[in-house]
Symmetry: D2
Subunit: 342 residues, 4 copies
Amino acid sequence: MLVVMQSQATEAQVRAVCEQIESLGFRAHPIPGEGRTAIGITGNSGTVDTGSLESMPGVVECIPVSKPYKLVSRDIKSDNTIVRIPTPCGEVTFGGKAIGIVAGTCAVETREQVFAIAERIRTAGGRLFRGGAFKPRTSPYSFQGLGEEGLKILAEVRERFGLGIVTEAVDDDSLDLVEKYADVIQLGARNMQNFSLLKRAGRARKPVLLKRGLAATLDEFLMAAEYVMSEGNYQVILCERGIRTFADHTRNTLDLSVIPAVQRLSHLPIIVDPSHGTGRRNKVLPLSRAAVAVGADGLLIEVHHDPSHALSDGPQSILPDEFDRLVREARDIAAIIGRTLN
Amino acid sequence: MLVVMQSQATEAQVRAVCEQIESLGFRAHPIPGEGRTAIGITGNSGTVDTGSLESMPGVVECIPVSKPYKLVSRDIKSDNTIVRIPTPCGEVTFGGKAIGIVAGTCAVETREQVFAIAERIRTAGGRLFRGGAFKPRTSPYSFQGLGEEGLKILAEVRERFGLGIVTEAVDDDSLDLVEKYADVIQLGARNMQNFSLLKRAGRARKPVLLKRGLAATLDEFLMAAEYVMSEGNYQVILCERGIRTFADHTRNTLDLSVIPAVQRLSHLPIIVDPSHGTGRRNKVLPLSRAAVAVGADGLLIEVHHDPSHALSDGPQSILPDEFDRLVREARDIAAIIGRTLN
Amino acid sequence: MLVVMQSQATEAQVRAVCEQIESLGFRAHPIPGEGRTAIGITGNSGTVDTGSLESMPGVVECIPVSKPYKLVSRDIKSDNTIVRIPTPCGEVTFGGKAIGIVAGTCAVETREQVFAIAERIRTAGGRLFRGGAFKPRTSPYSFQGLGEEGLKILAEVRERFGLGIVTEAVDDDSLDLVEKYADVIQLGARNMQNFSLLKRAGRARKPVLLKRGLAATLDEFLMAAEYVMSEGNYQVILCERGIRTFADHTRNTLDLSVIPAVQRLSHLPIIVDPSHGTGRRNKVLPLSRAAVAVGADGLLIEVHHDPSHALSDGPQSILPDEFDRLVREARDIAAIIGRTLN
Amino acid sequence: MLVVMQSQATEAQVRAVCEQIESLGFRAHPIPGEGRTAIGITGNSGTVDTGSLESMPGVVECIPVSKPYKLVSRDIKSDNTIVRIPTPCGEVTFGGKAIGIVAGTCAVETREQVFAIAERIRTAGGRLFRGGAFKPRTSPYSFQGLGEEGLKILAEVRERFGLGIVTEAVDDDSLDLVEKYADVIQLGARNMQNFSLLKRAGRARKPVLLKRGLAATLDEFLMAAEYVMSEGNYQVILCERGIRTFADHTRNTLDLSVIPAVQRLSHLPIIVDPSHGTGRRNKVLPLSRAAVAVGADGLLIEVHHDPSHALSDGPQSILPDEFDRLVREARDIAAIIGRTLN
């Protein structure tokens, strides 16, 4: 924490601020500059709540310095975490040299629908299947998913096609079920700061795929992962899926710069979901290429063989043929930056 | 839903889009304009997922028209909902002529702290006390609240000072407890789209105070209330508490224009939280005045007798003397627009 | 500027950063904390461009500390600047105890239209008239204003009704004309960082009304005023008119918290434009009340006697009767916080 | 324009709205739905200013439908515009199969500096050099560029190294000079809605590189280009350079999804500036790769041989060696999507 004083602040005011800092149990380090004095605060293990400082005479503002995260940080662990997902058709890793692709349908609707898509994904070389059995929908009147019924269909997909299963949990009950049936527990953007659910996921024995909230800063995103890790589950895959901005040509604004930013600060893998990130079918392929080019550790893609009849998120699902092309181009771009496809 | 065609779209393209609409079970209404044709879609009870339309030759874009909410809407109920909170010191209402003020501390820390603040609030004429026993904190290492212990202290506050209690629930377990101990169940901004929790609150027998999410549009905010109401709980108070923008002079940007916007579309009461909305003590008083002046049905204010030693959100708590002034000025401004203070 | 080091940064890395700082001509002040070391930089009169520091081994980030503005700051002048506008019907001030109201039409269309509105504004007690002769329009095919012809009509308004004139300049040529015909030179949001125009306005002999850009931070807004003042014109009135956010229920999001924030840092007066700030007629009155309640030094309001036939911005113009009510309520709210109406 | 009525709107209210629409000179097309009626408006060549409609009894809202741009649109010209820049070392094109790279320094400081960088860029295969002689700086006290002196140095760069010159104009005077000395006239993000300057650029005989404003929607961006084209200059290159959002890990949020969105609506070429778009050296290379992968028609890159001593924007300039690598990787990625490097 750094306290910035006004340029005309008196010595007495600076002293008073230092005394207040010391009275709160910290140490004060005044740094006299040409124009004004700044006062560094040390000895604080957590965040200093310094409303009292900001209200003192002569103070301009308080600037936080320390980052609050620990376990997610490269300060603690400098080499990349590699999350390993065993699937019947082989191990998929996130965070190593190989890029992982998760593909599938937004919502599990029927066995026929899911099987049709899963078959195409397996043929294209995919090894991880996504499908929602519990759907967080903006409207209570929209299709909310098949629940455990849907999870059972996904379990059949694993058995029949050899694909590992990634699916979302939305509360404690569904997380119990997802942990039982699936290979990766997905936590959605709207639950990124559902701290109870994060803690429950932190006690799970399966890897967690954590999506960035629509208004989450980088720090908040990493702190959400910290919640999971603080309960003992270190297998966390982060996922950028678009943030909310004024721009209206896509449903969200995909923030690809967060990929190198996360990789600089954290050892956790981070993947990109261009389907939700753009909400438009015709932007999924170009932004998938861009995600691989920027250095993402994986992709999360919605595929549908008949998107015009999908019960949710049809407009952002690509067709199986487009997915084939996506895999091909992703592989070629990965090679340019010394990476491979899982 | 309205489908906008390109200006050079052929008749055949327009016809194909109309046929696709009909094949999805809706009716198509082509409106030929000077420059281009638009096609209205009717017969849809819910949202049309029209990715297929947007991908058809000649289509520029699809524009949603119908609003997805029902129970929250003035379409269903044109007169204001008045939420009534019985407290030992009299009934408090939200949504009528009288404005309601909820005041208290961010977190319940100790009996002494809470009693000291509650006494000052009661003296200032307050009748509803807020205090957090379950705290959703960005960091897992920050103080997370006293839990049921805190709720018991709040129950003592009701008994001793006659104040009604407003406190936050963060998951099903805490909601069970909050429903038992408190008078109003608060749902925080980070849980505004925690649909499981919304549904659980919809089955509660106590009024719900629902805060707007940091990135929630007006429609999403109303749909969150719709989730609560769709389960049978019609006692919902909305609360604006700041949205996330690029502006960095306050912690959030308080969006006061949402007050008249909500009041135009919905019959539910809406209040303002300038403490979280600004995150700065010195902005709470002016923005409380503004909230009353804009027509809000109430205020949610953090007060602390010793904010520099508060365990959470000290920087945005005002002192009891400032609260006295706030109540005075709120009452005077309310009178100008024909309203009173509860 | 403060350089934050990684927690595992070596002593040698800290020393190297300090040496680099000194080699750039500044002084380095290492502050060793429990977790990590931060290094303060002093001796910099302007901004330090420290890309080189951020790229050095062991560095997490660089945090700017000093504010770049001088003349706009309360550091330089602690008491409020009062901008005085002489008009035929008396002096209007901004920044003192009295609140100033500027009212009028978005665009000057015809003498009849302007006279009709001006008469109503004068009757309501107004003393400053706004009307655009040069209109910055998003589309080149929209009405661009009458130019000097419009300014002449405005000059007639001054003569006939005694109203002072506020009107926008969009480039050097129009600024020459506006300076000649009007009493206050308005610079629009889209030109807030048109630095050439700001400098030209800084050489003008008339007060400047400077609108906040749609994406301007508080610092950038104040720096734009600094540009005007740095050329010698100290008569600057700031104006909040809404910022661009994701919220779609108003055209822009009016950021009323910027009023107390500006007043804390700067001695310049700041007013509010709820007409552009919301873009909706039905929100102008409530947000005008809120602006006065929050402490704004004035209002800028669009009034039109026949808004459905206005050539620009009809949807946000209020009717003369609504303006009467606005003035009445503004006066009453002003009284509550110890202020008056000009 | 579409007017949406309340579900309980009476027939008389619908009729009244239709009559009002007709009285404004347009045609009304009521579309009765299950829940409510919507009314289409045709016959409007420009935008309908419909504040009067929105205030009528029974109206929920007015939704604009028609796009206001013409010349920039694929409606007018379906095949790509190819902007051709002749340079001493060969023609560079934007908008065709080949991708163009513009590289250079943010500000022209000295002949030595510019020559050193230009030489490296030429060696790396570059054919277009960027350098600022007129610098729009947030602070009036920051280095504002060398002016015509700087343009003369750039002209020497063309002569000596054979590079075409791209440089920014900030007002009419500088545009006159830039048109004389340079090959491409750059208009900066802060001037994207400086309509006077856009019109002046529209009368220039050199191609215009137009940067997206920090808060510009896609429509506003295209309308800015429409201003240039409406004056007769059809040689416009668009440039995405980051938008302003809440995200704070980069200076701006680079919105790569705008590339396919522009290409869908407009025939104009669009390039990406990852240097300003991120403001961080270590993100320029990954986001340059992403820009090529997403389908951009070119890149605008800041290179500096000694960025720690640059007078402006040092933190975002890459070193010449990094630029070599960038060109190499851009070429390889371009090949994957069937494109080449100019």
